[in-house]
């Protein structure tokens, strides 16, 4: 059970959270100007790295706020969390919390 540091509530159990996939995938300002391939890329393509990954979480069983996190997908380790709209913190390679 991961311990996730909600930027608004502090560290809480994983069961209080829901996962929201890759972070910083911006909704196109005007989808109508995109061709099918570009729209398809926005709609269906996501990164799937082994290692640090910026992703979205929501504290569904708590403050119900969305936030972003940097998590290592191989070790599950959270390198940091940050509120929506904030810049991602810089994570050094192998930097453990």
């Amino acid at each position: 059970m991961l311990l996730i540091d909600c930027p608004h509530c502090g560290p809480r159990d994983e069961i209080e959270f829901s996962y929201g996939g890759e972070a910083h995938v911006v909704y196109p300002e005007d989808p109508s100007v995109l061709n099918d391939a570009e729209w398809g890329r926005y709609l269906f393509y996501r990164e799937n790295p082994k290692g640090d990954f910026a992703e979205r979480w929501i504290h569904s069983g708590g403050c119900r706020k969305w936030f972003n996190a940097i998590r290592n997908t191989a070790t599950y380790e959270f390198k940091g969390t940050y509120a929506m709209g904030e810049k991602a913190p810089t994570i050094k390679e192998g930097d453990a919390k």
Partner: protein
């Protein structure tokens, strides 16, 4: 049934008996025979004290077996424990070594397979959460030393241990002294001393069975089985502890391995450490003429202890070439002959029974082959030690890696789990002083780390804690001298069929050979091919041996490269009842009920689960079945008037300056220009353009909307709106509130509904002119309750929805009942609602749609605005694929025979599909065995309609709308049925009934 113990007592006072209370005699009944025992005994030790170590025969090969171990790793002895009291049930498949003997306990052996007691278990099981700065697993010398070092300053320290008393290996020792005190006593004193600190928690009889991310350890505690029945009342029988710790100290010890040789499964072959535990902890001698077979020094300590307790040591067999100090000393003191470079190559039973009577000993040459004469020695116990495997399970649960340590011939954990500290035998140091040293260091390190993380003062103990000092006479820890593992003792006959690796699965070396012969060289494949390690004991005594036998076969000298199959939670078998805890019966899942529920219950309606909601399904009258009730209800609504509890409809209030803009971005049709006082049906799509929900949204004020959603989609829609607001459009001024449970909603539908509403809300002008379709009015009900009444229809009939504060829901319902009495108003449930809406071709999201259906596919193209520049899903609907003319479209289907109700999910195939196609036929076959069957679509909803006078359904069919009037086929219960494709709306297609 015999009543008196027929076996001689093997209890001895010449051994300490650290774990038993000789002043508290108890009696147990095992296999119908009574055994005298002492408080503190395990079932296994009580049986061994009674001279009986034979278990049930093995499950697959029916071979006689005996108790091998003294702990959770026991592979042979599995028991059923009879109900301990009247309100208890039988439990089965428990290791005989793990069950604590209590007065009056009845049990018997099972052969690898037990029967579940079908009686409901009335015992309580619960769960508790706990936070710790330092959690220590294992209360042996290492764990206790760690606790002493960690319990400083403000640290909260939790120590859990699976045994009924602290001490771990100290309980199995004859001579261990810690700081001048008897080891077992020191353990008890240490717990007593630490327990004076309120920040210390010690949980005995508690097994850590899983170790998860961020130091989350789950443990099972047995709380009442050892108590007298009167003390069990009101106490949960088992508790699952969820412990979140900043730092974890693992001190679980190590488990001894058996040796693989021919007939190594005979009753009387026992792990040397287990023989020592039975002797020193329980004062029960497992044998009288004991042979010892070892690959390392540890067994000599056992030999001396057994000898001191009165047993005769008849042979010392050592795989190593040179006599170690411990070997020489043991030979001298026990008088037994020491055979070096030797192995036990076989065992024999006496003609009288199954138990070991003699062992055959042979010398081994430098290559490990048998050499010289084989000699036979009479013995009733063979104490074996194939070395020790550190109990790395909890470490590997966290993806912690291990390294093969050739010095101890075992895997030791690497330091690669954050916040974890290993101590004691787990680290590969098997000495008592080593346990105290590593434990103290681990405890101090854990304290320092926890204090730094939590920002408290670690007190004086941090970093410089002094380890207690151990004095152990005769201690011969495995690491004290060379270890020479004997992974596979050659068999005299050449057959390896009875050289067992996994005793519980009855798998021998020959089975691994077969797997290898079939091409398997990976231990994970071997495990699954042979089933080694998959039994109740999860291969605790067989894992490393299986790996080593495989390594031998594939010629791999580096055992670490072969590896063992992964250990997963749970560490020991545990009851589902404990995992379920209180979440049984009514507490299994929360049930949501409406304010009108008491009336429904009284009316005797059947309920349908919709999400967590209990919704009235149908109201059967006078012995009606469901079909009859639904036909009556459906007809009543169309002929006169019916009413339904619609409370579960999701309701979300959307407020703010940008509320209109916000709502407008979700629905496929326009909401910006919706007038206050009016509602509009809307379809909501995902970004992929597929229908995700629908419902009517009303504009309460310029800056205030009330959105309704499907009953089961309410939470998802609410989350969806929040997600977009928070992550994409935070600049919009909107606030979202779920108000589903704040309102009770009563639907009144049918030609007479206007009359009913006129009576219920006397001040309201209900005429069509004053109160048009898709409008709402605030009104006062005749009982003074304020209500919002809407003209919305999900049945095609004239229909009203009364919304009141949930507190008044029941009284409003009764008001409708009274007012409708003269029109014979009929309560109806979800099934009738489904029939009525389907007759009108109105979809239910999730039933008629499945995430691949666009609004146009569902016949809702009219609700997709062509003028709106943007709504979620719009760009996807413009994709070529979303506009293919051969997409599946929702249409109605009717069986041509007017009798068959098509099953939901029935596939529609070509009209000329041929059940018996000839070769070269161009027609589609009917069954896949004759070739590919093209499915044009499938039925999503299907009912008998009293209003159409025939069965009908809705179906998603390729180019469905073009096929109106076409006949297709469907296979129903093995019969081909002709099906006519019709328009989506079959009843009142002009919509004349809507306004009454």
């Amino acid at each position: 049934m015999t009543t008196a113990s027929s076996s001689p007592s093997r209890r001895t006072d010449a051994a300490p008996g650290h774990g038993i209370d000789r002043s508290q005699p108890i009696t147990i009944t095992f296999g119908g025979q009574k055994y005298d025992a002492f408080a503190g005994d395990s079932l296994a030790s009580a049986l061994i004290a009674g001279g009986n170590l034979q278990t049930a025969n093995s499950m697959y090969l029916d071979r006689p077996r005996g108790i091998l171990a003294a702990g959770v790793e026991e592979p042979n002895g599995l028991v059923t424990v009879k109900a301990r009291s009247e309100d208890d049930i039988d439990e089965t498949m428990l290791p005989v070594t793990s069950v604590e003997a209590t007065d009056g306990l009845e049990a018997f052996y099972v052969s690898g397979q037990g029967a579940l007691d079908p009686t409901p278990d009335p015992a309580l099981y619960d769960r508790k959460h706990m936070h710790a700065d330092v959690l220590i697993v294992g209360a042996g010398p290492a764990g206790l030393a760690a606790a002493r070092a960690a319990l400083q300053g403000e640290a909260r320290v939790v120590l859990i241990d699976k045994e009924n008393r602290p001490g771990g290996s100290l309980l199995s020792s004859r001579t261990a002294q810690i700081d001048g005190t008897d080891g077992a006593q020191w353990a008890a004193d240490t717990i007593a001393e630490l327990s004076e600190n309120p920040d210390f928690t010690y949980l005995s009889r508690t097994t850590a069975f899983g170790n998860y991310d961020s130091n989350y350890v789950i443990a099972l505690q047995y709380r009442t089985d050892h108590l007298e029945p009167k003390h069990r009342e009101g106490v949960s029988r088992q508790r699952v502890w969820h412990i979140r710790a900043d730092q974890v100290v693992l001190a679980p010890g190590a488990m001894e391995r058996p040796i693989v040789f021919s007939t190594n499964d005979r009753p009387g072959v026992m792990l040397a450490g287990a023989a020592r535990t039975y002797t020193n902890r329980y004062g029960a001698l497992p044998g009288q003429k004991i042979a010892v077979f070892t690959t390392n020094d540890s067994a000599y300590e056992a030999a001396l202890d057994l000898h001191a307790a009165g047993a005769e040591i008849v042979a010392l067999v050592d795989s190593r070439e040179k006599a170690s100090e411990a070997a020489t000393a043991a030979a001298e003191r026990t008088g037994a002959e020491l055979s070096l470079s030797s192995a036990v190559i076989g065992t024999n039973a006496s003609v009288m029974g199954d138990r070991l009577a003699a062992v055959s000993i042979s010398e081994l040459d430098a290559d490990g082959a048998l050499t010289g004469e084989t000699r036979t020695v009479d013995a009733d116990l063979l104490a074996v030690s194939g070395g020790f495997s550190p109990t790395v399970h909890l470490h590997t649960h966290r993806q912690g890696t291990t390294t093969w340590n050739t010095e101890i011939a075992g895997f030791v954990p690497n330091d690669d789990v954050t916040g974890e500290h290993c101590a004691g035998a787990l680290t590969g140091d098997f000495s008592t002083q080593g346990a105290l040293d590593t434990g103290t260091r681990a405890g101090a390190a854990a304290l320092a780390a926890a204090a730094a993380n939590a920002g408290f003062d670690p007190g004086s103990g941090s970093g410089d804690a002094k380890a207690p000092s151990a004095q152990v006479a005769d201690e011969a820890p495995l690491c004290g001298a060379e270890v020479k593992p004997l992974w596979l003792v050659p068999s005299a006959t050449g057959s390896t069929d009875d050289s067992f690796v996994d005793l519980q699965r009855d798998q021998a070396v020959s089975d691994i050979e077969r797997a290898y012969g079939a091409g398997m060289t990976n231990i994970e494949h071997i495990k699954r091919y042979t089933s080694i390690g998959t039994a109740n004991d999860q291969g605790k005594t067989s894992g490393v041996n299986a790996m080593a036998v495989l390594a031998h076969m594939i010629g791999e000298e580096d055992l670490g490269a072969v590896g063992v199959s992964g250990y997963r939670p749970p560490f020991t078998a545990l009851p589902f009842a404990a995992l379920a805890g209180r979440e049984r019966g009514d507490l299994f899942d929360p049930a949501r009920v409406t304010a009108i529920q008491p009336w429904h219950l009284e009316a005797g309606c059947e309920f349908e689960d919709v999400g967590q909601w209990k919704r009235p399904w149908f109201f059967a009258k006078d012995g009606e079945d469901m079909h009859q009730a639904v036909q009556r209800e459906s007809k009543a609504v169309r002929d006169s008037v019916g009413y339904m509890d619609g409370t579960t409809l999701g309701k979300i209030e959307i407020r703010g300056q940008d509320a209109a803009e916000f709502v407008n971005r979700f629905y496929t049709n326009g909401f910006k220009l919706l007038k206050v006082g009016k509602g509009r049906y809307g379809v909501m799509c995902g970004v992929d353009g597929m229908i995700m929900d629908d419902g009517v949204t009303m504009r309460i004020a310029d800056d205030r909307f009330l959105m309704t959603t499907t009953s089961s989609g309410a939470a998802a829609v609410f989350d969806w709106l929040e997600e977009w607001h928070q992550t994409e459009w935070p600049e919009l001024d909107v606030t979202l509130t779920s108000v589903t449970e704040q309102y009770s909603t009563i639907t009144v539908a049918g030609p007479k509904s206007r009359d009913v509403i006129a009576k219920v809300a006397p001040g309201l002008d209900v005429s069509n002119e004053a109160f048009a379709f898709m409008e709402f009015q605030d009104a006062e009900l005749s009982n003074g309750v304020p209500a919002r009444i809407c003209r919305i229809s999900f049945s095609g009939e004239l229909s009203f929805e009364i919304n009141v504060d949930a507190f008044y829901g029941l009284s409003a319902w009764k008001l409708v009942e009274e007012a409708g009495a003269e029109f014979d108003i009929t309560p109806y449930g979800t099934e009738t609602m489904h029939v009525l809406r389907a007759e009108k071709g109105l979809i239910i999201v999730g039933q008629d749609t499945d995430g691949t259906v666009t609004p146009d596919d569902a016949g809702l193209g009219w609700a997709v605005s062509t003028k709106k520049k943007h709504f979620i899903g719009k760009r996807s609907l413009e994709r070529e694929d979303s506009q293919r003319p051969d997409r599946k479209q929702l249409v109605s289907v009717m069986s041509v025979d007017k009798k068959t109700v098509l099953p939901e999910g029935a596939q529609l195939i070509a009209k000329d599909a041929d059940p018996t196609p000839k070769k070269g036929s161009v027609q589609d076959p009917v069954t896949p065995s004759n070739g590919q069957v093209h499915s044009y679509g499938f039925v999503t909803s299907s009912y008998m309609s009293p209003n159409l006078g025939r069965p009908f359904g809705l179906a998603l069919i390729e180019s469905g709308r073009e096929r109106e009037g076409e006949i297709m086929k469907s296979l129903v219960n093995g019969e081909l049925v002709e099906v006519e494709i019709g328009p989506l709306c079959l009843f009142d297609p002009e919509g004349k009934r809507r306004d009454g």
